[in-house]
């Protein structure tokens, strides 16, 4: 019984982690940017969905859409206000751009976090689930929302796969992640590819954020842990490798769920951290990393 419970809960948590990390790794793969405001954008999406429902009294679907739209706007704002100026700055030496992007997005994330805390307080917020109720799977009472979360995550991941592998735009993105210079030689505008990637990222982070808000609830305190978990999943899987982060998300998700159920919820994150350190020592490029 417990095993089945762990299996179901772990699946939903892992799917959510995977979705959250996917956009993060895509941006890194294509433009070499590690976006440390990731957690803030996810929380922003969830809070926007929550505010739409509780302040504007929209229905849950509209609320969720507003959440995703806000994340999309935030994603573009991150790109235009922080990342692009740093990348194009002539005053920052090229070899230091990475640390500047890290510092810049970190500060940007803190700004978003503080604004959320200022306008909507630090209290935890749970977005009203789109589907309510509980079903019984072989004796395990499972909220329908949990199944819904897992299904949406997989549908979106599937859609992303189709987009990247089957459409012209997607193939350009894929090519840019393999060899940016090669793509420009083929006459494709790298800047427009970046725009596409940040748009995809915004939608993915938005959906992941809203689902997280429905499933576990968010507060401005979850910003740091969310960024850290996406960062670790992505490094564990290999920076820039989408399938690697998918596997890593499931490893981390299940490891955390098993620890929480069998040992104690207080130790939830420790085994995943230990695994991460071990992987860095043995295989620094991650599970499926190329470098």
């Amino acid at each position: 019984m417990l095993a089945l419970q762990i299996l179901i809960d772990g699946f939903a948590v892992s799917a959510l982690y995977a979705l959250g990390a996917m956009g993060f790794t895509l941006i890194f793969g294509v433009s070499g940017v590690l976006n440390l405001s990731h957690g803030a954008i996810m929380v922003l999406a969830a809070v926007a969905a929550w505010a739409a429902a509780s302040v504007l009294h929209t229905d849950t679907y509209t609320g969720a859409l507003i959440g995703v739209a806000v994340a999309l706007i935030a994603s573009f704002a991150t790109y235009f206000a922080v990342v692009q100026p740093i990348q194009q700055s002539k005053r920052i030496p090229n070899e230091e751009k990475e640390i500047f992007v890290l510092t810049g997005t970190l500060l940007w994330g803190i700004m978003i976090q503080e604004l959320i805390a200022y306008f909507f307080t630090n209290n935890a917020k749970t977005v009203l689930p789109i589907i309510e109720g509980v079903v019984n799977i072989l004796g395990v009472r499972t909220p329908k929302n949990e199944i819904f979360t897992a299904v949406v995550c997989w549908v979106v991941i599937g859609a992303l796969w189709l987009l990247v592998n089957r459409t012209r735009t997607g193939k350009a993105v894929l090519a840019a992640s393999m060899n940016p210079r090669g793509v420009t030689l083929l006459g494709l505008e790298l800047n427009s590819i970046y725009l596409v990637v940040w748009a995809i990222y915004g939608v993915l982070a938005g959906i992941a954020g809203v689902l997280l808000g429905m499933f576990l609830g968010v507060s401005s305190y979850s910003v740091g842990p969310l960024t850290a978990s996406a960062f670790s999943i992505v490094v564990l899987g290999g920076l820039g490798s989408v399938s690697g982060s998918l596997i890593a998300a499931f490893v981390v998700g299940y490891l955390e769920t098993v620890t929480a159920y069998l040992i104690s919820p207080a130790y939830r994150t420790i085994p995943a951290l230990l695994l991460l350190v071990a992987v860095m020592y043995v295989r620094p490029q991650g599970l499926l990393g190329r470098r």
């Binding site: 100026p85 640390i99 700004m111 130790y267």
Partner: protein, 308 residues
Amino acid sequence: MTDFFKSRLFLISIVVVAIAATLPLYVSGYVLGLLTVAYYFGVFAMAWDLLFGFAGEVNFGPTFLIGVGAYTAGILNNQYGWSVYLCIFLGAMASVIAGLVLALPALRVRGPYFGLTTLVAVLMLQNFVVVFADLTGGEIGLTIPDVITISANINYWIALGFMVISAAILYGLSQSPIGLVLQASGQDPVQAGALGFNIVKHKLFAFIVSAFFSGLSGALLVFYFGTASVGTVVDVAVGVNVIVAAVLGGRRTVLGAALGAIFLIVAGEFLRPTGELATFIVSFVALLVVLFFPGGFLGAALSREARS
């Protein structure tokens, strides 16, 4: 080095330190308390700058080194009642060991990978503090029975003296041949190695020095506060502040890092009336500096001097 003693920077530093040393004569204890914390913070930022600005190691977890030093000193004093100075010394030594632990992955992985390892180190330390609450005081914090002194003036002078000595050593180190080799190995390890420099030895050295000053400052800080808690010496947010301070002041300048830290703490205090928006404003200003004056305060000032 002889040029340095004639340079304008040296003269300005002397004047600033002299003014700072006389502050207890005419400012309130409240301001002194604020500056005392700011000076310890300045040492954190300078130690970080040595690792990042010179050795080129992106350390996202300065609070790992700080926290190990602070908690070791605090626990020894709390559990065994050993003398304050012995505890501070052992705290700094524990931090050096922590620095060596951190240096191991740094010699294998680079850039973001190393950055993540350091971040994980902080999260692990944080978990450790919470899990072993009997020893560490957990989330409530560790009470430290002894203090160095209760006089605000003496505490202030100790902090100032400590910062000035640390600044002199770290700055001197950064301008020495060792600093140049560090800088070279940070920017292009392969080429620096090809020139015959022992990269591993130099990087280990940088880690040890950075850890020593971080731990020492952390230990002194908890004996000033009389308490050690995750929120003051371990939390990722504290580490972020250290990094922001160093970048604001101007990375690769060492002294700028101290200026940035003092600015950050004093600005945070001035913004206290704005309540919850204080952190927002500080982050916003820091972001503007990062975007428009990537060299930081001192970087901007030095480049102007170099041009004139």
